[in-house]
Symmetry: C2
């Protein structure tokens, strides 16, 4: 096991009716910016629950945060924060609203020349302060409700970039599984596979004798495999929704990734597919991961076999046969929840390959992955394998 | 799943050499009370590592905190805190030193008439402030390094009682697995079974469809079953020590207990055996749990069978046969790491039974456990089954 630091001060309020606790969770006399997306919270009753709990608070609204939140949109929110002397941000939405709000919280207090640096100079500059944030999660998927990371897209240049800071950990996050009841089927399916692949990015690397992290990761994979279809069969199954929601939070709150190598190649390549073709984040991951498993099957052999045995009960046959079966099981799982895994399923052809490679090249990236050895040639190979 | 709140702001610094980070973790200019136990940290080099990292800080020492830390001893520490205007407590030790230090941190700022109330009136009074604490863990076992709970014994009356408060969460805890290298065999064994039974208290109840919590608990049980013997075979096996240490922390940092029923009968009865006979905490748990499993085998049937199947691969036979095998496996595990499970192994006879029942009766306790239905008669039965 590698040395690590684990710190996660988010207060999670989980369960039915927890939105009413907002009254006591938001700082007294806070000047609140309520952030949300396209307005689905007005149809499913969440907006009303939030506003009832915030009676007596000064609330300014900022809506219209889109999927893969745009830097351009968020900077409008930053202007609003400054104009209204906002001192607390309450994000009500899924990962995009939460991520966008984290960026606004940091950008509003940014003292550098341009807040875009927070994303473009990640690792070179650091966010040292941010306005406090609370969240009401409406879509289990990204884990943003319990971490200090955000991903933002600059629409103008199609750059989809991330930043992280302890200062953008939400002070609290309210997770009421009943929000799942009114979600469209595709959003649940995207959430299930997104959480699944968050686990895989921190697990499917090489063994470092980290017993607890491995078994926790496998616990989440099995839970998502079992609970995902249960939720999809009946989105009003409270316990299934609750298990899905908690698994998605645990998948990316830092816990399973401590002291172990991490990959994140699937996300890095997937982000390009979203930026260039607008394919849903979860869908891009299901396209890339099977290709990555094929291309890196020798490199990742030990963890692939462990994953196969402990998650899918695959222990018969030669190594080649077992890994073939493991990849097939994984692809079948994605397809079974309704997420297609080939580029052709999304109307994307082979011209994507040079475009993706070009974008990596322009950023000076030569190789990615847990060993830094997934080359641009191999990325091209992954895309080629997943064409159709 | 039940509604829950999860909040755990402890910063964990895990790994080899992490003690040197103290310099940056302790607040600048802090007036530190360094608390420890019987002085083993002076033999194994941990004291020297700590003092090297604290060069330049003002450090007052308070040593001699015993196993099952005594209220009487700790109140001497409180006097020292007040006399020296201490503003930071650094606990270097195992669960007893950490728990004792948490109590001192709360007692030093207690405004009630008598700090004993913190323990004797738990649930009726609450700790609203405490001095900040940091810890360097020297013995994986209790999980105190990552929770806000402490257990203290009043020697005079043999009362062993607990309290909890968010104000006694350590600000940071340093977990260097190398501390295991110099531990006596019995302390490692006690730590393994203590952590194991912490998990069982939060797991072996009744099912509430909590997929992630159940699988996380099973992950820890399996990890302890596999890693415990590895550490005992070679205490200088770094990875085994690290896995044991991290499993023990995860066993009682709140995570696996959210949204599920909890038992704690084994601890409540075990505490009496320690208070009355001075039997090691871990040993008392190994005496009680098998008896509890026997007495409540019908009440806990579903979780017993799930535990047997997922942790011990027991799935053949009738329910009676399976549960017999499951209890036998559990007892064998305790015995295999060197912890005896019968009262006679510790020279305790049947006179213990009325004494324990009398103590529960005097506190007004009629029944305990996750359903509040483990009666005094059943507690007597558990002790009787475990006589020899």
């Amino acid at each position: 096991m590698k040395n690590f630091e684990f710190y996660n001060p988010v207060k999670v309020c989980f369960g039915k009716g927890e939105i009413s606790r907002l009254t006591g969770l938001v700082p007294p006399k806070a000047n609140i910016l309520l952030t949300y997306g396209g307005g689905s919270i007005k149809k499913n009753g969440i907006y009303d629950q939030v506003m009832t709990a915030l009676k007596g608070f000064n609330v300014i609204e900022f809506s219209g945060i889109e999927a893969n939140p745009h830097y351009e949109t968020l900077m409008n929110g930053v202007a609003l924060i400054k104009a209204h002397h906002i001192d607390f941000l309450l994000a009500v939405g899924g990962g995009s609203v939460l991520d966008g709000t984290k960026f606004m919280a940091a950008a509003a207090l940014w003292e550098g020349s341009d807040p875009w640096e927070i994303l473009s100079k990640r690792g070179k500059v650091s966010v040292e302060k941010a306005l406090p944030i609370g969240t009401v999660l409406t879509l289990p998927a990204t884990g943003s409700e319990m971490n200090g990371t955000a991903v933002v897209t600059r629409w103008e240049t199609k750059d989809k970039l991330a930043f992280d800071s302890v200062h953008v950990f939400p002070k609290f996050s309210i997770l009421d599984p009943e929000v799942v009841f009114s979600l469209p089927r595709i959003q649940v399916a995207n959430g299930v596979v997104d959480a699944f692949i968050h686990v895989m990015e921190q697990y499917l690397t090489y063994p470092v004798d980290a017993a607890v992290q491995d078994r926790f990761a496998e616990s989440l994979l099995i839970s998502l495999i079992e609970e995902g279809p249960r939720v999809l069969a009946d989105r009003t199954n409270f316990d299934a929704a609750a298990n899905f929601m908690w698994a998605a939070t645990m998948a990316l709150n830092g816990l399973i990734g401590v002291g172990v190598p991490q990959d994140w190649s699937t996300h890095m390549i997937g982000h390009e597919l979203t930026a260039l073709h607008g394919i849903d984040h979860g869908q891009t991951l299901c396209i890339i991961l099977p290709g990555l498993m094929r291309v890196k099957r020798e490199n990742k052999e030990k963890k692939l076999l462990q994953y196969g045995e402990r998650v899918w009960n695959i222990s018969e046959g030669t190594t080649v046969e077992k890994i073939d079966a493991i990849i097939a099981k994984t692809v079948n799982f994605f397809e079974s929840v309704g997420i297609k895994t080939k580029l052709s399923d999304y109307g994307v052809g082979s011209d994507i390959i040079p475009r993706v490679i070009d974008r990596f090249t322009k950023r000076g990236i030569k190789a990615i992955g847990e060993r830094g050895d997934l080359t641009l040639d191999e990325i091209a190979k992954i895309l080629e394998l997943q064409l159709k």
